[in-house]
């Protein structure tokens, strides 16, 4: 007899806790407009605003004269833990003095190896690189993720000193 009472008591207790749980989910079902937090990601791409500090990819800003602030000092290359930055040099003749001077040829950035730790940005003495907020970089081949950050024909800005 006792077992039967316990059996039915268990069923009623189960139904009661079920109702308690359903009350919570029922609230969200009836207040869907107020409580909904889901973002329709690929559809809201035009209005999607990332936070300004969000680390998406390393970029090198250029101004309207196609000039950047990178002197090629390779501080970022040293600071990078994964070897995702390579600075390639060239020796160019300075038109004023006629001496040969080391200048940056290519700023090679392997995005596929980058962990976006921000150490290169902190290390840069001239604020030449910064983190960009774009993040959609799915490609079919890893080679496509190697970028050359300085644009072809770009120069170092005159006011940037090493």
């Amino acid at each position: 007899m006792n077992a039967i009472v316990r059996y039915f008591a268990g069923i009623f207790k189960g139904l009661k806790t079920l109702a308690t749980g359903m009350k919570v989910t029922g609230y969200y079902f009836s207040h869907a407009r107020k409580e909904i937090i889901t973002q329709q990601y690929p559809e809201n791409r035009d209005t999607l605003q990332m936070f300004e500090r969000f680390r998406g990819i390393v970029t090198m800003p250029h101004d309207e004269n196609n000039e950047h602030r990178c002197t090629g000092c390779s501080a970022c290359e040293v600071a990078c833990p994964n070897g995702s930055i390579e600075i390639l040099w060239q020796r160019l003749e300075d038109p004023e003095t006629g001496k040969k001077k080391k200048t940056i040829d290519k700023f090679v950035y392997h995005y596929s190896m980058c962990t976006l730790c921000n150490l290169c940005i902190l290390a840069c003495p001239t604020d030449a690189i910064k983190m960009d907020q774009t993040f959609e970089y799915a490609v079919y081949d890893r080679k496509e993720l190697t970028f050359i950050l300085n644009k072809p024909g770009s120069k170092v800005r005159a006011d940037v000193k090493e």
């Binding site: 268990g10 207790k13 189960g14 806790t17 079920l18 308690t20 749980g21 009350k23 919570v24 989910t25 937090i37 936070f51 500090r53 969000f54 680390r55 600071a79 833990p81 962990t115 976006l116 730790c117 921000n118 150490l119 902190l122 983190m131």
Partner: protein
């Protein structure tokens, strides 16, 4: 009735053979690539043998080639759910070795972030625990609240999970102007939502029956296996590093160490849910008292630790994380060892799960809250 009894008698006369089943490496309830070899007698577990190493990335060895600033970002990838606390452990070890005085502001910021990380980790654990036991609703509710914390992290640190916000000497950036507002919003929001957790799971009869009295860990076993964190505190072992060896700003906040007596799966569950309330109160105490000043102490461009051995321990969401640095005076450590909480907590399974059924093993594994990259490193 007679027939059933007869069948039962013949069944006990039959010789049964112990057999082995692989659970994992790809199994949803192992939370990553963990392989458990189960010795089974019928459905009763007689032996559990965890096999690890499927996600070993040799982080300790990589640390020997990196300098002390670069090491920090690797620790994000160990226990990714308490990434900030892992960063803090390495930074504290380096700071203690160099005897740098970290600014008050940085210490308070670190503590707030550590507690928010703990909250986020426990919310994820709560959701996944519900999902493991067949309640998908819990998973979505846990992730909803965690999203707010991730947004706070993203705004100030620039990343949601692998934040790399600590640097030796302090933190990387100052707080974002919106930080106070967002944290207060979160506290107000989560205080109303945390009772829902009890309604959905804690008081549910099915959930209670699957966790109460399942996988009892005795106090002696917890100590001898080196179990730490909420898993050990649910068995009555006082092991909270925040309380016993305060670091950062934990000496100035008032919080309780959650101790349980039962040691079963439900006690471990309860310990974590109550810990969420404590973390919430710590954040609440500190958020209005962030001192002004620098957020980073000046350090040399190349950090070189004096020759010697340094040890620092912190309390992550899963237990005690120890960082042991052996320095030969160079710019990278001679040897670096992490004492990760997940490793010790996992291997107590061979004591906990024996005698229970496979379905109970899932509940036990959820409540010890393992993160496999933390175990393998």
């Amino acid at each position: 009735m007679e027939l059933v009894k007869q069948q039962r008698d013949t069944a006990s006369d039959l010789k049964t053979q112990e057999y082995f089943v692989n659970m994992g490496p790809q199994h949803p309830s192992t939370h990553g690539v963990l392989r458990l070899v189960l010795g089974l007698d019928g459905e009763i577990i007689t032996k559990v043998e965890p096999h690890i190493g499927y996600i070993h990335r040799s982080i300790e060895k990589m640390c020997e080639h990196d300098n002390y600033r670069q090491i920090v970002h690797l620790t994000d990838r160990m226990d990714y759910l308490s990434a900030h606390i892992n960063n803090e452990a390495v930074c504290l070890a380096v700071e203690n070795a160099l005897e740098i005085e970290v600014p008050e502001r940085a210490r308070v910021i670190r503590t707030i972030f550590a507690e928010l990380t703990r909250l986020a980790s426990h919310q994820l654990w709560w959701g996944v625990m519900g999902m493991d036991l067949g309640a998908l609703t819990a998973f979505l509710y846990g992730f909803r609240d965690r999203e707010m914390i991730n947004d706070i992290f993203e705004e100030t640190c620039g990343a949601r999970l692998t934040m790399n916000y600590n640097v030796p000497g302090g933190v990387m950036f100052d707080l974002h102007p919106n930080f106070h507002k967002r944290v207060k919003e979160f506290i107000a929001h989560f205080k109303t939502k945390l009772p829902e957790y009890d309604d959905l799971l804690s008081n549910n009869v099915i959930f209670r029956q699957r966790t109460e009295g399942v996988g009892i860990l005795s106090k002696e076993d917890a100590i001898s296996y080196g179990v730490t964190g909420p898993t050990a505190r649910a068995s009555g072992v006082s092991c909270d590093v925040r309380k016993l060896h305060p670091y950062s700003a934990y000496d100035r906040v008032d919080f309780k160490e959650i101790l349980m007596e039962e040691g079963d799966s439900f006690a471990r569950y309860k310990a974590r849910v109550l810990e969420m309330w404590e973390s919430l109160s710590i954040v609440e105490q500190l958020i209005d008292n962030i001192p002004e000043g620098d957020f980073q102490a000046p350090t040399k461009a190349v950090i070189k630790l004096p020759k010697g051995e340094y040890y620092q321990r912190v309390e992550t969401a899963r237990g005690e994380l120890g960082v042991y640095i052996v320095s030969d005076g160079g710019k990278s450590p001679y040897r670096l060892k992490f004492r990760s909480p997940g490793f010790s907590n996992l291997f107590v399974l061979e004591k906990l799960a024996v005698g229970s059924k496979i379905a109970d093993l899932v509940a036990i594994m959820s409540t010890i809250d393992i993160v496999v990259p933390d175990i393998d490193r």
